[in-house]
C-alpha cells in the first residue's frame, strides 16, 4: 500500500507538472538576429505533395499542364517549407525576411539522401505579400515553376521572398542592390541549411553542391550572388542567371536615351527608393526625379498590397509612359554643338525604327513619370562618363569608349546623376570579375522588358576572353545550334519559338481576340519576357545536370 500511494503521489505530481509546464513542443524562436539565423526552427511546412499529387494538381489547370509538359513529370514529391530568417536591408539594417525551402521527397533514388541545392531568385513582383513558398496560392506561378523544374526532379530549392516582402518589416525592397541581394541569398542559404535536418523531410540532405539561378530581377540577384560567393571562396557548382539586368549602367543609358523597356514605370520607383535608402543621394525630394503628378508618395508606393493594375487605374503610376512625349531641348552653356547632339539623342523615337519601336513609343506620353530635366541631367552624365558597354571605370575617370553621343566636357548643368552612379555601383561588370564556376546565361533576344543585347550580350562580350565553355550564352529565341555545348538546348529553343508562333496565330484567331497581324505580334512581344522563363529554367536544370 505504501508503495502504491507513493506511486500515486508521483503520478499526481507529474500531472501537476504537466498542467503547469508547456504542453507540447513547437518551433523555437531564434534569440539572435544575426545574418543567416533561422528565425523559427524548424520552419513551417506549408504543404507536402507526393509526386502523383503534385502532377495531378498541376494537370488540373491548362497552364499547369503546359508547365508539366515542359518540366517533365515529377519524379519526386515536394515538401514546401516557409523559412523565416534574419538578413540585412540595403543600408545594412537588420531585418527579417522569408522564403521557401522546397525539399524533394519520395522513394525514387533521386528524391532523398544527399541532394544538390538550387538557390533561386525570383523576378520583380509588385505584390508585397509575395510568398514563393506558398504553393497553395494559385497566383504563385513562379513557385510552381521552380518546384516542378527543380524540386520534383530531385533538387533542394532555396528561394527568398526578398527583404521588403511578406513578413519583412523593412519598409522598402533593396531592388537591384548587388551587395544586399547577395547577402540575402547567402543568408537564406545558411538558414535553409540549418533548417533542413530539423524538418519533417530530414531524409533528404544537402550534398554540398550549389547551383545558383534566378529570373529577371532574380537573374541579376543570381549573378550578384555567384560573384559574392566565389569572391568569398564558397562553393558554387554552376550558375545560370536568366534574363537579368546585369549591365545596369548600360541598360539605364539605353532607357534614358529612349529605349524604354516594358515595365519601366514599375521598375523606376523600386530602383530610386532602393538606392535612396542605400545611398541617400538620389534626390532631396521625389520631385527631383518624378513629375509632380506622380511624385507624392512614390517613394513608398512599391511593393504594395494593392494590385498593380489598381495602382495604374488610381493614377498613382503611368502604365507605360516613363518619359515626356515632348523632346527636351538640351542647353549646355557655350557648347551649342554638344547641346544639339544631345537634343538629337534624346529625340522621342518614331515608330518602326527598330522591332521594339512600338513598345518604345509607349514609353512616352503626356502623363509621364520622369521629368525631362532629370532625363537631360542623366543624359549629360552618360555622355560625359561614357559606359561604352565595356569594363566599367569609376565615374570621373576618362571615358573608355565612345558611345552615343560623343563625349562632351564636364557638365555645367546641375549634375543630377546619382542614379547613374548607383547604376554604376550595382552594375555586375563592376568591379571587374569573371565566374569561376561554369555559367549559363539564358535569355531571349525579343525580350521587351530586360533587353537581351545590352544585358546578356554585354556580359558575353565582357567575358569573351574566358576559357571556352566557362560562360555559355543561350538565346532561347535564337537559331538552335547543331553542334557544340549549346546543341542540347536546341529542342528547348525550338519549343519556345514554336510556342511563340502558336501564340501569334492564336491572337489572330477569333478565340484570341482576332487581332491584326501587327497587334498580335505586339501582344506576343509583350508577353515574351514571362514566356521565356520556363524554357530558360528547364535549360538551367539541363545545364546543372552536367555537374
Amino acid at each position: 500500500m505504501f508503495n502504491l500511494s507513493k506511486q500515486f503521489a508521483a503520478a499526481a505530481a507529474v500531472t501537476l507538472l504537466a498542467a503547469c509546464g508547456s504542453s507540447s513542443n513547437t518551433s523555437s524562436m531564434a534569440n539572435s538576429t544575426a545574418r543567416g539565423t533561422l528565425a523559427l526552427d524548424p520552419p513551417l511546412r506549408i504543404a507536402s505533395l507526393d509526386a502523383a499529387t503534385f502532377a495531378a494538381e498541376l494537370n488540373a489547370t491548362a497552364t499547369g499542364a503546359e508547365l508539366l509538359a515542359l518540366t517533365s513529370t515529377p519524379v519526386c514529391g515536394v515538401d514546401f517549407y516557409y523559412v523565416k530568417f534574419w538578413t540585412v536591408g540595403g543600408a545594412n539594417e537588420t531585418t527579417e525576411s522569408s522564403g521557401a525551402l522546397m525539399v524533394p521527397t519520395g522513394a525514387a533514388p533521386a528524391c532523398s539522401g544527399p541532394r544538390p541545392i538550387v538557390l533561386y531568385a525570383h523576378g520583380t513582383d509588385t505584390d508585397k505579400a509575395t510568398n514563393i513558398a506558398d504553393i497553395t496560392n494559385p497566383s504563385n506561378t513562379e513557385g510552381a515553376l521552380i518546384a516542378a523544374a527543380f524540386a520534383a526532379q530531385g533538387y533542394i530549392v532555396v528561394a527568398p521572398n526578398y527583404a521588403g516582402y511578406d513578413i519583412s518589416t523593412l519598409g522598402y525592397h533593396p531592388y537591384l542592390n548587388a551587395v544586399q541581394n547577395a547577402d540575402e541569398m547567402t543568408d537564406i542559404l545558411t538558414a535553409a541549411r540549418t533548417a533542413l535536418p530539423n524538418t519533417l523531410s530530414a531524409a533528404t540532405s544537402d550534398n554540398g553542391k550549389l547551383f545558383i539561378t534566378g529570373y529577371s530581377e532574380g537573374g541579376y540577384v543570381a549573378m550578384a550572388t555567384q560573384r559574392a560567393l566565389e569572391a568569398a571562396g564558397k562553393t558554387v557548382t554552376a550558375a545560370a542567371p536568366m534574363s537579368g539586368p546585369y549591365a545596369l549602367e548600360a541598360f539605364g543609358d539605353t532607357i534614358f536615351f529612349g529605349g524604354v523597356d516594358l515595365g519601366s514605370t514599375v521598375f523606376s520607383p523600386l530602383l530610386t527608393t532602393s538606392y535612396q535608402k542605400a545611398y541617400g543621394d538620389i534626390y532631396t525630394a521625389t520631385t527631383d526625379v518624378f513629375s509632380s503628378q506622380y511624385a507624392n508618395g512614390i517613394d513608398t508606393l512599391l511593393p504594395s498590397l494593392t494590385p498593380i493594375d489598381t495602382i495604374f487605374a488610381q493614377g498613382l503610376l503611368p502604365e507605360t509612359a516613363l518619359f515626356d512625349s515632348t523632346t527636351p531641348t538640351v542647353t549646355i552653356p557655350d557648347n551649342p554643338t554638344e547641346s544639339a547632339e544631345l537634343t538629337a539623342a534624346l529625340t522621342v523615337p518614331t515608330l518602326a525604327t527598330t522591332p521594339l519601336a512600338p513598345l518604345f513609343d509607349l514609353g512616352f506620353g503626356t502623363s509621364y513619370l520622369i521629368t525631362n530635366d532629370y532625363r537631360v541631367s542623366y543624359a549629360i552624365n552618360a555622355a560625359t562618363f561614357v559606359d561604352g558597354a565595356g569594363p566599367l571605370a569609376p565615374h570621373g575617370s576618362p571615358p573608355t569608349l565612345a558611345a552615343i553621343p560623343s563625349a562632351i566636357p564636364s557638365p555645367t548643368l546641375a549634375p543630377a546623376f546619382y542614379l547613374r552612379q548607383a547604376f554604376n555601383t550595382n552594375d555586375l561588370r563592376n568591379p571587374s570579375w569573371a565566374p569561376s564556376a561554369p555559367t549559363l546565361l539564358c535569355g531571349g533576344d525579343a525580350d521587351p522588358t530586360v533587353f537581351y543585347a545590352v544585358n546578356t550580350g554585354t556580359m558575353e562580350a565582357f567575358w569573351s576572353d574566358l576559357p571556352a565553355g566557362l560562360v555559355n550564352v543561350l538565346d532561347i529565341n535564337g537559331t538552335p545550334a547543331t553542334s557544340g555545348p549549346l546543341a542540347p538546348f536546341a529542342p528547348l529553343q525550338l519549343a519556345f519559338q514554336a510556342s511563340q508562333a502558336a501564340l501569334l496565330v492564336y491572337y489572330q484567331s477569333a478565340a484570341g481576340g482576332g487581332l491584326s497581324a501587327a497587334a498580335a505580334a505586339a501582344a506576343v512581344t509583350q508577353g515574351t519576357h514571362t514566356a521565356e522563363a520556363p524554357f530558360c529554367t528547364v535549360a538551367a536544370r539541363s545545364f546543372f545536370s552536367l555537374f
Binding site: S23, P42, R45, S48, Y82, K84
Partner: protein, 236 residues
C-alpha cells in the same frame, strides 16, 4: 490558465460545499450520515461540434472528432438536508483522442481518421442535487444542476498531427466553465452503502489553437460531453 487557478478551483468548490454542508448540518439528523464517498466508472460521450479549422495554409473542410472515453469516477457528496445534497464529481483525467475529419489527405499527408492529438481533461463538476423520497428509501431518484470546469492538459499533437500541421505543433485549449445538469438514481444496498447510476451533461466550450512554427490555426469547439456514472458509495 495558471497553476494557481487550477489549484484554487477545487479548494473553492470544496469551501462552497463545506459551507453549504455546515449550514445544513445544524439541522441534519445525527443518524443520517453527512458524507458520502463514491467510486465508480465514468463513461464520457462527447457530442462535439467544431468549426472547420481556419488559418494560414489550411485547406477547406478540416474538422475533427473526439473519441468517447471511460475513466475512474470519484465523487464526494455532502448531505445538506433531507432532500438536498452537494456533489463534487471528478474523473481520473482521461486521455482523450482527437481524430481528423474531412479530406482523406492534406496535400499528400493522411488526415481523415488519423489520430491527430491527445489531451487529458481535469474536469471537476459541482452539483447541487435534489433527492426524491425519504432518506431511507431503497430507491432515490435525484436531479441536479451545477457547474463544470474543464482544464485540458498534456495537450499533444501526434506524429500524424504534426505531419498534417506541417511541423511540431503546440495545442492551446483554454479551460472552460459551463453549466452542467444531472439525473440519477440511488439504490440502497446496505447501511452506509448505496449504488448509484447517473447521467449528466455539461457544456464545455473552448477555442482550439494549433501553433506550428509561429502560425496559428484555430477552431471554436463545443465538446458538450454527456457522462454515464455507475458507482458505489459509502456514507458515514
Amino acid at each position: 490558465m495558471t497553476l494557481s487557478n487550477i489549484r484554487t478551483l477545487p479548494a473553492t468548490l470544496a469551501l462552497i460545499v463545506a459551507s453549504l454542508g455546515g449550514a445544513a448540518s445544524a439541522r441534519a439528523d445525527d443518524a443520517v450520515p453527512a458524507n458520502d464517498f463514491r467510486l465508480g466508472s465514468y463513461s464520457v460521450f462527447y457530442h462535439a461540434s467544431a468549426d472547420d479549422l481556419s488559418g494560414p495554409y489550411v485547406p477547406a473542410g478540416l474538422n475533427f472528432h473526439t473519441d468517447n472515453v471511460e475513466t475512474l469516477y470519484v465523487g464526494y457528496v455532502r448531505r445538506l438536508s433531507t432532500h438536498f445534497s452537494a456533489e463534487l464529481a471528478l474523473g481520473y483525467p482521461p486521455l482523450t483522442k482527437t481524430y481528423g475529419v474531412g479530406p482523406a489527405t492534406v496535400g499528400s499527408q493522411p488526415y481523415s481518421g488519423q489520430e491527430i492529438s491527445t489531451a487529458r481533461w481535469l474536469a471537476p463538476t459541482a452539483f447541487v442535487e435534489y433527492n426524491f423520497f425519504a432518506e431511507d428509501a431503497v430507491l432515490r431518484p435525484f436531479i441536479g444542476v451545477g457547474v463544470n470546469y474543464t482544464n485540458f492538459y498534456d495537450r499533444r499533437s501526434t506524429a500524424a498531427g504534426d505531419e498534417a500541421s506541417g511541423g511540431p505543433t503546440k495545442i492551446e485549449l483554454p479551460p472552460s466553465f459551463g453549466p452542467a445538469a444531472t439525473v440519477g438514481l440511488a439504490y440502497r444496498l446496505a447501511e452506509h452503502w448505496h449504488a448509484y447510476a447517473s447521467y449528466s451533461a455539461s457544456k464545455v466550450n473552448t477555442r482550439l489553437t494549433l501553433i506550428t512554427a509561429g502560425v496559428d490555426r484555430t477552431s471554436h469547439v463545443e465538446f458538450n460531453p454527456q457522462a454515464l456514472v455507475v458507482s458505489i458509495g459509502y456514507a458515514f
